[in-house]
């Protein structure tokens, strides 16, 4: 770890630091709202809740809103005018993002970036600073370790805060983060803090549900195995209770599918995009009536294949970051970790 990559932040200085960010950025942070914790715009430091656990929605909401205007249009007699939005003004800070959600952003970066950039996502992303907060006490549902992440991983965060009791260890996860560390709020690191941080990280990893981690472990060859078992009847069994709602996809930090619609009055309107879900029946429904995924079996299978087979095959990160939201919120407790275990254990015929 090179000099300048890690510093300390006394807890009493956190407020001032966040306030300085609020001065010239739009800041999102975890807030208590409606008996839930959500990642939402904050106007003051007092809005933030750094309790244990994760927000119900994920960091993707801030960069890829559920409903987003692509452009407005007005059409008169033989004339159409298009009003496309220009890039947002102020910078964006995503504060309190857990390591799983930060890793999720890296996958979204690949989807919306690449050689053809999605300006709605990329404009915001360029101006975004991710200040993560490590999970010194992971939730019972978490399995990030099995998905290549970790409760104290700085991957995807520009800065990562790790709670050492009376102060935070602050690690830079990117060049942007290193620049931020020059802020006066931060102090030099010392050996004791580093040792303590190491302990906290080890304790955090140890405290995770080991049985679940073993279950969700993505063995080598899972991709190939998923391919081989594509037509296997095990999918009938796995998917029989699926309700076909969109909870898993909407709460997931890496799911990115969307629909594009025109919403229009007499002569003016907007083209918007809204989240869509591969679990919905019309997702792949063609105008001719053909639907390659006619039942929840094909649709549930698609989600698993996309996350654990197609994305890795395309050289991307795994599509699952182990946040556990789909596991706890699925009304019928369909569990992706069990699916991995069942598929891994199944003999190909």
């Amino acid at each position: 770890m090179s000099k300048g990559d890690t510093k300390l932040l006394k807890k009493e200085r956190l407020e001032g630091f966040i306030e300085s960010l609020l001065n010239d950025h739009v800041v999102f942070g975890p807030v208590k709202k409606n008996d839930l914790r959500l990642l939402d715009r904050i106007e003051s430091v007092n809005d933030i809740s750094l309790d244990r656990g994760n927000t119900m929605n994920s960091a993707k909401n801030a960069l890829f809103p559920q409903t987003e205007r692509l452009f407005a249009y007005c059409h008169g007699e033989k004339v159409v005018e298009i009003d496309a939005p220009s890039a947002e003004g102020r910078g964006l800070v995503l504060f309190g993002v857990r390591p799983c959600d930060a890793r999720g952003l890296l996958l979204l970066d690949k989807v919306f970036g690449g050689s053809l950039k999605d300006p709605y996502y990329c404009d915001k992303r360029e101006k975004t600073v991710v200040i993560g907060v490590a999970c010194d006490k992971p939730d019972p549902k978490c399995f990030c370790l099995a998905m290549g992440g970790g409760p104290c991983s700085a991957e995807g965060s520009d800065l990562l805060l790790l709670d050492l009791g009376d102060q935070y260890l602050v690690k830079a996860g990117s060049p942007k983060g290193k620049t931020l560390l020059k802020n006066k709020a931060f102090q030099k690191i010392d050996k004791e803090a580093l040792a303590r941080a190491d302990l906290v990280e080890k304790e955090a990893e140890k405290s995770m549900n080991q049985a679940v981690l073993a279950q969700a472990a993505i063995g080598e060859g899972l991709e190939k195995h998923l391919e081989t078992l594509f037509d296997d009847p095990i999918w009938d069994d796995i998917t029989e209770s699926c309700l076909g709602c969109g909870i898993c996809t909407y709460l997931c930090p890496t799911c990115h599918c969307f629909d594009i619609l025109d919403e229009t009055g007499q002569s003016t309107g907007e083209r918007i995009r809204i989240w869509d879900s591969c679990q919905f029946p019309l997702f792949t429904h063609q105008a001719s009536g053909v639907n390659p995924r006619p039942s929840s079996k094909e649709r549930f299978r698609q989600r698993i294949m996309h996350k654990l087979c197609y994305l890795p095959q395309n050289g991307n990160l795994s599509g699952c970051v182990g946040c556990g939201r789909c596991v706890t919120e699925c009304p019928v407790n369909l569990d992706i970790r069990e699916v991995i275990q069942k598929i891994s254990a199944r003999e190909a015929k």
Binding site: Y73, K78, V80, P119, D123, H256, R271, H285, P292, N314
Partner: protein, 281 residues
């Protein structure tokens, strides 16, 4: 940053009714902006997303050939909200276009090769584009024998009748038209496209087969081509899926790990045979 979601404007110059059931029309579009006209460059096999503002967007294969610049043509079958709205538009109306999208046919690989184009019904659009491209004076020499097998349910449902008539008079291609059942005055083949393909029995030697049509037609044409001796890498399909963004972001048009909009819509059978996913045809 360039915005790939915002269409440029085009004006309807002409609307051609293609079929006797009035369900398919070809729209001839002109660019509203000179800059867009200069910039638009496509190859046969690509597609574009056409917008009817207020109704939405839908993907259509390029039916025009890039050898005739300044205009784009799209053939539209009225089947849903956007296509229904398009059919109600008239000369002078404005639509939006985003494109060109997709990978198109591999023209370089086609050079010095024989070409067998097999089309069914409405799927013939991009094959018409490819045919007119090949037949252009400047291009014809680059390709060898050209065989076209094109079928529709009835004679009145064949598209591009003027093109078909003109091609029929040429000596540098073999045109095989077929309809499902006997019809008054019909002098071409009678039978489904896969069966006619089997009967015509084109040679696979040094030949690319390019197939585009309804899923069931493509499904039954593949084994015929394999029986005739075509290799997987020499059989190309142009696939269709429900699409929205057209640029590989919205996640819906995949066949296995490939997006039909950006990795396709043209795939070789050897590529398709390696993909896991729902049957594409």
């Amino acid at each position: 940053m360039e915005n790939p979601y915002v269409p440029f404007l085009m004006r309807i110059e002409n609307v051609i009714l293609e079929t006797e059931d009035r369900k398919i029309k070809t729209f001839v579009l002109a660019f509203v902006s000179e800059e867009d006209r200069k910039r638009f460059a496509y190859v046969p096999g690509q597609f574009a997303e056409v917008s009817v503002f207020g109704k939405g967007e839908a993907p259509f294969g390029m039916a025009s050939t890039p050898t005739i610049p300044d205009h784009l043509e799209f053939s539209v079958s009225t089947i849903g909200v956007v296509t229904g709205a398009l059919h109600n538009l008239k000369k002078g109306d404005i639509v939006g276009v985003r494109g060109p999208l997709g990978n198109g046919y591999p023209l370089d690989a086609f050079k010095e090769k024989n070409l067998l184009l097999i089309g069914g019904g409405f799927g013939f659009s991009t094959l018409r584009s490819l045919t007119n491209y090949i037949l252009h004076d400047q291009n014809r020499q680059a390709f060898k024998n050209l065989t076209i097998i094109y079928g529709a349910r009835k004679p009145g449902l064949l598209l591009y009748k003027a093109d078909l008539a003109a091609w029929g008079k040429r000596h540098d291609l073999n045109l095989h038209l077929t309809v499902d059942q006997e019809a008054d005055g019909w002098k071409g083949h009678v039978g489904l496209v896969p069966n006619i393909t089997r009967a015509v029995a084109p040679s696979p030697k040094n030949t690319f087969a390019v197939v585009c049509g309804p899923p069931v037609m493509m499904k039954f044409t593949l084994p015929v081509l394999k029986d005739l001796g075509f290799n997987d890498e020499d059989i190309l399909f142009s696939l269709e899926m429900r699409m929205k963004c057209g640029i590989g972001k919205c996640g819906r048009c995949n066949v296995g790990s490939k997006y039909v909009c950006s990795d396709g819509p043209v795939f070789s059978q050897s590529e398709l045979s390696k993909l896991t996913g729902e049957a594409h045809f």
